[in-house]
Every structure is written in structure tokens, then in C-alpha cells.
Symmetry: C2
Subunit: 219 residues, 2 copies
Amino acid sequence: MNSFTSENYLKAIYKLVEHGNDAVSTNAIAQKMSTKAASVTDMLKKLADKKLINYQKYQGVSLTPKGEKAALTVIRKHRLWEMFLMEKLDFKWDEVHDVAEQLEHIDSEKLISQIDKFLNYPKFDPHGDPIPDMNGKIQQQKSKAISKYKKNDIVKITGVVDHSASFLQYLDKSGLALGNEIKIKDVVEFDRSLHIVINKRSTLFISNDVAKNILAITK
Amino acid sequence: MNSFTSENYLKAIYKLVEHGNDAVSTNAIAQKMSTKAASVTDMLKKLADKKLINYQKYQGVSLTPKGEKAALTVIRKHRLWEMFLMEKLDFKWDEVHDVAEQLEHIDSEKLISQIDKFLNYPKFDPHGDPIPDMNGKIQQQKSKAISKYKKNDIVKITGVVDHSASFLQYLDKSGLALGNEIKIKDVVEFDRSLHIVINKRSTLFISNDVAKNILAITK
DNA sequence: TAATTAATTTAGATTAGTCTAAAAATATTT
DNA sequence: AAATATTTTTAGACTAATCTAAATTAATTA
Ligand SMILES: [Mn+2]
Ligand SMILES: [Mn+2]
Ligand SMILES: [Mn+2]
Ligand SMILES: [Mn+2]
């Protein structure tokens, strides 16, 4: 089995590849893992030895099919655990991530398949991120940030980009949650800030910075 | 926080102290942990530095109050997770231990208090072992091995001594489970083997070796 | 009590993961 | 195309946990 640490590296590389980058740099990984470039280079050699990544000195890395499968398994476990914590144990969406970071490394196929069943096979986690199935298949939502919609568009919130506790707590306090209907009432030209109406009831003013971090689809 | 490994040492020492031994020997720990005496000595020094155990060269060890609290917390988590796996995820009682060995090290107070609540504050785990409460308090059962009962005694199964999967599977196959009523129909003088009646229905013959590993109280 | 045996500790290595500082390679400017 | 800046890798060291082999202490036996 892959170590706790290896799993975290694979997950980090997966997410960097996912967000555009074709070959991921040593520095990018170091930043994402809050570690130093020298440590990353050491680990990359080990992961390459195990055929989990494609790596040639100075050329950046990508996941092999084997490495991608491993990464997707960790992500599947993380997101299922987040869902479990929220649905069954009354955690709030800003509390689940840190615990899931630990639980995602528990090694038991039966455990995770039973959790999946217990939750009735959810397709998305509490932040709107897709949960890979047993085979690593992902069901993508074609949503975009609400900052990209126009005046009078009516959309449904499907996810968040920023996953930090402070951002999620701000959304809670503002009455924003997954599934909410949002109408773009007005767009301020100067700074792209938005006036929105939530569920046809309350109105709210949000900055462009916030708007860029809320994902939605047209209703 | 204590490392994964430290927690396992503390748990091992706790269980050795629990089963009679006053000061636990290096060799006993090595055997229980499936490691070597030299490794144990190294670890004992570290645990002593952290004031988790009382240790003087060649004199054996015991837990300090701080060490005992830590051990009981791990045991509480282990047994709650076993209960969760069995009650909520349809694991069998011979399948829960290995996964609980991993889950017991997850560090989150909220997680464990919510699991406890979710299970409705169970007092005993799937093997009949007591689950320490938040403060480390244990509710002991005054049960003894059915090998110690006499002919015509009627008792209720409350736990097992041996926790191995093979023993538990043997009990399953024989129709023996926690809560069952057992009548000692006959005791064979020669080898102390027993004829028993389960729930007033089926009769079964068990060896003294088996009888010593089944705990029960008089009905 | 002395000799022998058993238990425990120390010494010295090893492995995984990390770090800092220095060297080497690549990318960017001039 | 050189010079400079940036990125990446290497070298060497550190910690936690482990091991084998040797030394030391304690326990048992004669
Ligand atoms: Mn998360
Ligand atoms: Mn999530
Ligand atoms: Mn167990
Ligand atoms: Mn148990």
C-alpha cells in the first residue's frame, strides 16, 4: 500500500493537473503541500520508482494511470467521508474537511463501499465537488462562477471554489447554501460586484472576489 | 498529540496492566506489539520523557494518570468504531477489529462524541468489552468464563476472551452470540468439555478451550 | 555464593520523510 | 548569445521508529 504521505502527494498532483497545468512543477507541489522543493524532489523519485508518476529531472510530473487511480481513490474517500460527517453526524460544511483529511487514508474497501451505500451513493460532496465512483469515474457539473453570469440571469448554486472555513462561514452567515436559487439583480460596472436575490427573498451584495468563488448553473 | 505508534504502545501497556501484571516487562510489550525488545526500550524512554509512563531501567513500566487517560481514549475510540461498523455498516463481529485499529487513531473530539451520540451511547462493544466514557470511566460486567459454571446453571453470554476472527467465526457457525441464554446441560469430568443448550433450542458440545473463552453472567 | 541463564539495555545501522545550503540546469533579459 | 535570474536537484544532516548484535544487569540454579 501507499503511505499516508505518498497518498497526499498523489492527490496534490492530481489537483494541480486538474486545474490546467499539463506537467506539474516541483515548486507548485511544494507550495500545495506546504513543504520544500528539495523534499518534493526526493518524493518524486520514490513515486516514479513505484510507477505512480511520469518524472524526468527538470521536466515536471504527471500521473500514470496507476497513480491517477490511486489519487481518485483518495479523493473518493475524502468526499464520501465529508458527506458522511455532514449527513449523519451533523457536522457543518466548514468543519468536515480537516477530519476527512485524516479519514481519507483509512484502508478498507468494505468500509468505503458501505459508507457509500449508507449515504445512498451520493454524486456530489457538501462543497459540490463530484465523488468519483468505485472505478474512478467522475460526473462533472457544467457550472461556472456566478461572476460570469449577466444581469437578470437566474441560477442555482452548485458548489464553491474556495474551501476555506472562513469563506464557508461567510456564506452561511449570508444565507448562501448549495441548491439556493440566485437572481443577478445588478452588476456594478466599476468593480464587478453583484446585487443578488436569494431564493426570491433576501437580497445581498457580494464582491467580485466572493462571486468568483461561488459556482452555479442556469436554472 | 501522541503519534500513532505511541498510542499503540500505551494501549498495549494498559491491557497488560489490566490483565494482572503490576509492572509490565519489556518482553511482554515486545510480544504484544510484535516487535523487538530493543525497539521497546527505545520507545519506553520516549514515553517516559513525555510523562506518559513510569519507567526505570530493568524495573518494568506502568502508566501515569496522563498515560492511562490517553490509553483509555484510544480504547474508547476503538470500541465505539467497532460498534459503529457493526450497527450501521453491517460488518460482522469478526470483521470490525482490523478497521478499528486504524480508525482509533483519528484525532477529532467532535467526531467521536458524535459517533457516540449516533449509536445512542453504547456501554459495551460487539465483543462485550466495556466502552470507556468521555472521562475514561468504565462500567465493568461481573461475568466469568462459562467453563467456571456448574451443571444446570443457566447463564447469558456477555462477551468473549479471544477476539480472533477464527474464534468468532466458529461461534457464529455454532449459533453462539452475545445475549444468548446458555444452559450447562452436562460437564464431562475427564476434559471439562461441556454439553450446552442454546436459547432452550439447539444443543452443542464445546471443548474446555472454547468454554474458557466465552464470558457469561448468571441469568 | 558462584556459575549459568534470561531479560534488558546500548551501540550502531537502516528507512521514510523532512530540512538548509550549495550546485546544476533551465528560463528570461539584455 | 551572454549575463542574470529562477527553478530544480544534490549533498549532508536530522527525527521517529525500527532492526541485529553485543554488552550489561538481574534472576535462577547449582
Ligand atoms: Mn475537503
Ligand atoms: Mn469537499
Ligand atoms: Mn478490537
Ligand atoms: Mn471489541
